[in-house]
């Protein structure tokens, strides 16, 4: 081969490489810019509005879907250094509380600041309620508009084989009148999720490990995640309200108002691909009976009861056990019939 062709090949390879590097610099995304699409965080107001958190190129936004679910409007947007962790409607649906935090959490207790905001649905005005130097993960209003929240004291990996997660959880309360916060429990739990508040605000409910009596490491490994009732005035007197003999963990849950029924998420079976299938179940506290509610064979989570107590909203992760999640919002009747996906992204920004 002549030298001329050698130089042509070399020049071609160098040109292609330079072009690829330039394209790389143009389209490379930082970790902060990568998140896209719907998250698990949503709530349904008593008036039928659905508020949900979605990301565009790493920037979080809160959208509110109209009652007729014809369109969604962006009501809150933040920079891509922030995350929005939860949203909760007030009892009359006129206000929406949400948590914002820094996306990049430094090791252990540094940079764990969380801000709780309050959005007026009518005026769209946002007010900063309070800031805490902890990681607030969930919040919930009671019917008398008391605000409760879960706060994690640390964000780290307790074990070298685990990823960094929030730990040392406790339940807190925000007093609107005195503009003050106080800690209800002193449990420092390894994990605590799915905060719910009783209608009168006298009790809060969370899902956590039933390991109070665990004495050995084996006892801790054998402990299951159950639903606990914690009286606000007597938090030490907590009790399990789900089936105490259930051998599978319970995760997200919701109470059906006016009944003794709890709808919760749990593993139904292992799929043919070896991945757990998470479904929703109904549990009757009076009769201590359980029935499987959904049969989607996927990852079904976050049950939320809609207005009139006849509709169930939930999230399905279409990419569960894969690198990136793909959350979709679904709706069904309370008995699990008429499962319908809701296309939240027919959105219109204000």
């Amino acid at each position: 081969m002549k030298k001329k062709y050698t130089y042509i090949i070399l020049a071609g390879l160098v040109t292609i490489t330079i072009c690829l590097i330039v394209v790389g610099f143009l389209f490379n995304k930082t970790e902060n810019e990568k998140q896209n699409g719907l998250t698990e965080f949503f709530d349904v107001s008593t008036k039928g509005k659905v508020a949900f958190v979605s990301y565009t190129d790493g920037s979080p936004e809160i959208f509110i879907m109209e009652d007729d679910q014809s369109q969604s409007k962006s009501v809150v947007s933040m920079t891509n250094e922030k995350v929005i962790l939860d949203v909760a409607f007030s009892s009359d649906g006129s206000q929406l509380a949400f948590i914002s935090s820094e996306k990049e959490k430094e090791n252990e207790n540094e940079n764990l600041s969380s801000v709780v905001h309050l959005l007026n649905i009518e005026t769209k005005k946002i007010q900063e309620l309070f800031t805490e130097e902890t990681l607030i993960t969930e919040l919930e209003f009671s019917t008398d508009d008391n605000l409760f929240y879960l706060s994690a004291g640390t964000f780290e990996n307790y074990s070298p084989i685990a990823s960094e997660r929030p730990h040392d959880f406790d339940i807190h309360h925000y007093d609107f009148e005195n503009k003050s916060n106080y800690k209800i429990t002193n449990l420092k739990k390894y994990s605590m999720e799915s905060l719910k508040v009783s209608a009168d605000g006298s009790s809060v409910y969370v899902q956590m490990f039933d390991d109070a009596d665990a004495e050995t490491a084996d006892d801790i490994f054998d402990a299951h995640q159950r639903i606990f009732q914690i009286p606000v005035d007597d938090p030490a007197n907590l009790s399990v309200v789900s089936d105490k003999s259930r051998n599978e963990d319970i995760y997200d849950f919701s109470f059906v108002p006016g009944t003794n029924t709890i709808i919760y998420q749990s593993v139904a079976k292992t799929g043919s691909d070896g991945v757990f299938e998470y479904e929703l179940f109904t549990y009757n506290q009076e009769t201590n009976t359980e029935e499987q509610l959904t049969f989607l064979g996927e990852y079904v989570s976050n049950p939320v009861i809609g207005p009139e107590n006849d509709t169930l909203y939930f999230i399905v992760d279409k990419q569960f056990a894969k690198e990136d999640s793909d959350y979709k919002l679904y709706r069904s009747d309370l008995d699990g019939e008429n499962v319908t996906p809701i296309s939240v992204f027919e959105t219109k920004k204000e």
Binding site: T6, L13, K34
Partner: protein
């Protein structure tokens, strides 16, 4: 200053991928042949320079002769290297762009290293880098290529798109071809002083290279696990390189010993095998019985 004939023969020899000893042998053989031819033309009435010119002309174009010799000595070697380098370059571009489009990650250092190493193989196959036409150089480049494309395989499998299936398969074909060429270069081509390798030496090469692959594979696996669990590079990670160092030392020692004391060489081979077996036993088999 070398004569025209010397320069001509040297150019032919440089077209081949022989070792230095093989090239010396080949040079001598071709040079004698051309000298005899030149003498014949002198006897036929030509002057010395004319006879030299005529002998070279009759022998043929140096590029063509060199290429034919290369093909005769190492059949399909050039084609395989060419195929490997082209497939590698296309794979690199595909994986780089797929990662960028689907994941938003530009792996620029990997792009530069993999394009460079594949281009080196391309120019070796096109015989444009005769100074690298040595077995040790080619093998070293192939081993680096292998490691670079093992990383490429991990990038291909991390793409969250259906295209990942094709890219992973493509990566394995590149890795297997690269591995095959390492074995082939060592076993088929490595013939110092023109003497074919004895069966025992070939056997030692096969065993040691296979042990090497297992040791490198296990070392990379444990390093990955250590990095995943500790989250950072630590000095004690250097200890993971110890089996590799022992393997290299034992391999070199066996090759030195095999000519003088075959028993000692094979005793060292047994030590290498025992090291690999003990790593596999303590790391994988024993935990299966414990848990």
């Amino acid at each position: 200053m070398s004569s025209k004939m010397e320069r001509y023969v040297k150019q032919i020899v440089e077209q081949t991928e022989c070792s230095k000893d093989e090239k010396d042998d080949l040079y001598e053989e071709l040079f004698i042949h051309l000298q005899l031819s030149q003498e014949q033309f002198v006897k036929e009435g030509l002057s010395e320079p004319e006879a030299e010119e005529k002998a070279i002309e009759d022998f043929g174009q140096e590029d063509v002769i060199g290429d034919q010799l290369q093909q005769a000595m190492f059949p399909y070697r050039r084609e395989m290297l060419l195929g490997l380098s082209m497939a590698s370059i296309l794979f690199t571009i595909s994986v780089y762009l797929s990662q960028l489009i689907t994941e938003g990650d530009a792996y620029i250092p990997w792009l530069l290293i993999s394009i460079s190493i594949s281009s080196l193989l391309l120019f070796i196959s096109l015989n444009k880098l005769p100074q690298l036409n040595r077995k040790r150089w080619t093998n070293s480049i192939l081993i680096i290529h292998l490691l670079v494309y093992l990383y490429g395989w991990s990038l291909a499998s991390g793409i969250d798109h259906i295209v990942t299936v094709v890219l992973v398969l493509w990566a394995w074909l590149i890795i297997l071809l690269s591995l095959f060429l390492v074995y082939r270069t060592t076993l088929h081509d490595f013939q110092p002083n023109g003497n074919p390798l004895s069966k025992k030496v070939k056997l030692l090469h096969v065993i040691n290279m296979t042990i090497g692959i297992i040791i490198i594979g296990l070392t990379l696996f444990f390093l990955w696990a250590m990095l995943a669990f500790s989250g950072g590079i630590e000095l004690r990670m250097l200890l993971f390189g110890l089996p590799f160092v022992i393997w290299v030392v034992l391999y070199i020692a066996q090759m030195k010993l095999v000519k003088k004391n075959k028993k000692s060489a094979f005793f060292m081979t047994a030590i290498s095998i025992l090291i690999v077996l003990s790593i596999v036993f303590y790391s994988f088999i024993m935990p299966m019985f414990i848990y």
